[in-house]
């Protein structure tokens, strides 16, 4: 086999291995997907053979396909296929390395009071409007109200 063909074969092998790559967070149980904002986690990158992969760039996409979507590179996997990451943006996020990806939820440390207040205002406005519309003061019959 020529050097060029050998190099192509290695490249194809790497691509095919990474094609089945997976991303996971150390310490999370199967099916669990929630991490806390501000608490460091370890992201593991594995290939299709379930071996840890080093030198792979791990990216996070905050709010995927939503308004305010942001993509950041959080690091390159070390010799043990691990990247340390401290999530700062709350909400649904997508961790990606190669072809592997996993969706997680970053729990905020405090409830977003702004959203709660806005929802409360909306509810109050709807309740007040409904009460006024159904039980509001009636004009005298025959008088144009």
């Amino acid at each position: 086999m020529s050097a060029g063909a050998f190099g192509l074969a290695v490249l194809l092998a790497e691509v095919s291995a990474l094609a089945g790559a997976s991303v996971a967070i150390e310490g999370l149980d199967e099916g669990e997907r929630t991490v806390m904002r501000g608490q460091e986690v370890v992201v593991m990158v594995r290939d299709g053979r379930n071996d840890l992969v080093s030198g792979e760039t791990v990216r996070v996409i905050h709010r995927p396909a939503l308004a305010g979507e942001r993509e950041l590179a959080i690091g390159i996997s070390d010799g043990r296929g691990r990247v340390r990451w401290t999530p700062e943006v709350p909400g649904v996020a997508l961790l990606r390395a190669g072809d592997g990806a996993v969706r997680i939820r970053v729990e905020p440390d405090d409830k977003p009071i702004g959203i709660v207040v806005l929802l409360a205002i909306t509810f109050c406005a709807s309740a007040a409007s409904l009460v006024y519309g159904w039980w509001g003061p009636r004009g005298a019959r025959g008088r144009d109200a």
Binding site: R33, A65, L66, A67, P90, R105, I115, S129, G133, A145
Partner: protein, 381 residues
């Protein structure tokens, strides 16, 4: 009187008001027609859900603000201004308003039917219920209230399982992208241009607050739907489609809306003598729902973005021409909001030939309906 510009009519004598046949309807019929109009407000709330991904809570807040500040006052003024300039014009405007109401309800049920076979069955059931309950308006409110109650419970359960912060995070920088459709929904929450204020029995003296009730009910339901959608998104981490349970709830809630559409004008005493008319209207509504859920699904957004604001602008603009004083201001503002919503959310012409054919068919059918009724009404005058 039809088509006269607003600025020419300043200082015109007060238009005569309806005092004869429609005012003779029992007060309970007015109240029940109002309840069914509120069903139309319920039907427009699912229009806000696709906007969540674009700007979070912003569309709901915009729609609520428009509904309270402009929609409800315009609907009150519309219900107060009920003179008919000419039979042909009156029939034409009423037909246009009916098309708007039909499109709102059919679109809401199309979103249910689009989810699969069970959704199609739910949509059929909702239209059948509307046809059966058209002349029993008191019973039409029962499934609607049951649906709203179930939605409140489902929302509470979803909130406990997953707080809905991701989808609800407001992004005010995206306001320009959502203000058109949000403003249109805000006006529709008050049923301006499509409800009893346009088609139903004339307003009894003293009954001036009902449009606010429609706004309250619609805005409350919209808030519940938005929160529930956000909670389900959070629980599924943004993957997967909607829940069939919500489809059931929506179908129940829309039973009163289908009843309102099946009963043209809220004249229930006439319906008992014309069941074929009710069935025909419900059949057309079902066909439109299934068409919008199937081959016309790609143009559903286009129809909603163009037809609904156009219907509202025409209706409120025509009413403004007959009104005076503060009512004219409120109606003019409402027509302006609908027009701006149409311009802001203009989606462009369809890209595919089949979509263009579907839109053309809808336009032709609507024109035929309006023109036929206007001509027949003019001949009978």
């Amino acid at each position: 009187m039809g088509g006269v510009p607003l600025f020419v009519t300043i200082g015109r004598a007060r238009p005569e008001r309806d005092t004869d046949a429609r005012m003779a309807a029992p007060r309970t019929e007015h109240r029940l027609a109002t309840v069914r109009t509120m069903g139309l407000a319920v039907a427009c709330t699912p229009l806000l859900l696709p906007l969540l991904r674009s700007a979070g809570l912003v569309p709901l807040l915009l729609a609520g603000g428009v509904a309270v500040v402009i929609g409800a006052p315009a609907a009150v003024a519309e219900w107060r201004t009920r003179s008919e300039p000419s039979p042909a014009l009156s029939a034409g405007l009423a037909s246009i308003a009916e098309i708007g109401g039909l499109l709102v309800v059919a679109s809401a049920l199309a979103s249910v039917a689009h989810s699969g076979t069970s959704g199609v069955l739910l949509a059929i059931g909702a239209w059948l219920a509307g046809a059966l309950l058209a002349d029993r308006p008191a019973y039409a409110a029962v499934p609607a209230l049951a649906g709203l109650g179930l939605l409140a419970v489902a929302t509470g359960v979803d909130l406990v399982q997953a707080p809905p912060w991701t989808l609800l995070e407001p992004h005010w920088e995206r306001t320009s992208a959502v203000i058109g459709p949000a403003a249109s929904v805000g006006m529709l929450l008050a049923c301006a241009g499509i409800g009893q204020w346009t088609l139903g029995p004339a307003r009894p003296p003293g009954e001036r607050h009902a449009p606010w009730g429609a706004v309250g009910l619609g805005l409350g339901l919209a808030t519940l739907l938005v929160v529930d959608e956000a909670a389900r998104y959070e629980r599924a981490l943004g993957v997967g489609g909607g829940s069939h349970a919500i489809d059931v709830v929506l179908a129940l809630a829309l039973a009163s809306a289908t009843s309102a559409v099946s009963d043209r004008g809220g004249q229930t005493t006439e319906l008992r003598r014309r069941p074929s008319s009710v069935l025909a209207r419900a059949g057309i509504g079902l066909a439109l729902s299934l068409a919008l859920a199937g081959p016309a699904w790609p143009v559903r957004d286009l129809l909603l973005a163009v037809v609904l604001p156009a219907v509202g602008a025409l209706g409120l603009g025509a009413a403004a021409a007959r009104a005076e004083g503060g009512d004219r201001l409120a109606l003019g503002a409402g027509a302006a909001v609908f027009t701006l919503a149409l311009v802001a959310s203009w989606p462009g012409v369809p890209g595919r030939a089949v979509d263009a054919v579907i839109v053309g068919a809808f336009v032709v059918a609507g024109f035929w309906l309006v023109a036929t009724r206007a001509v027949l009404a003019g001949r009978q005058a």
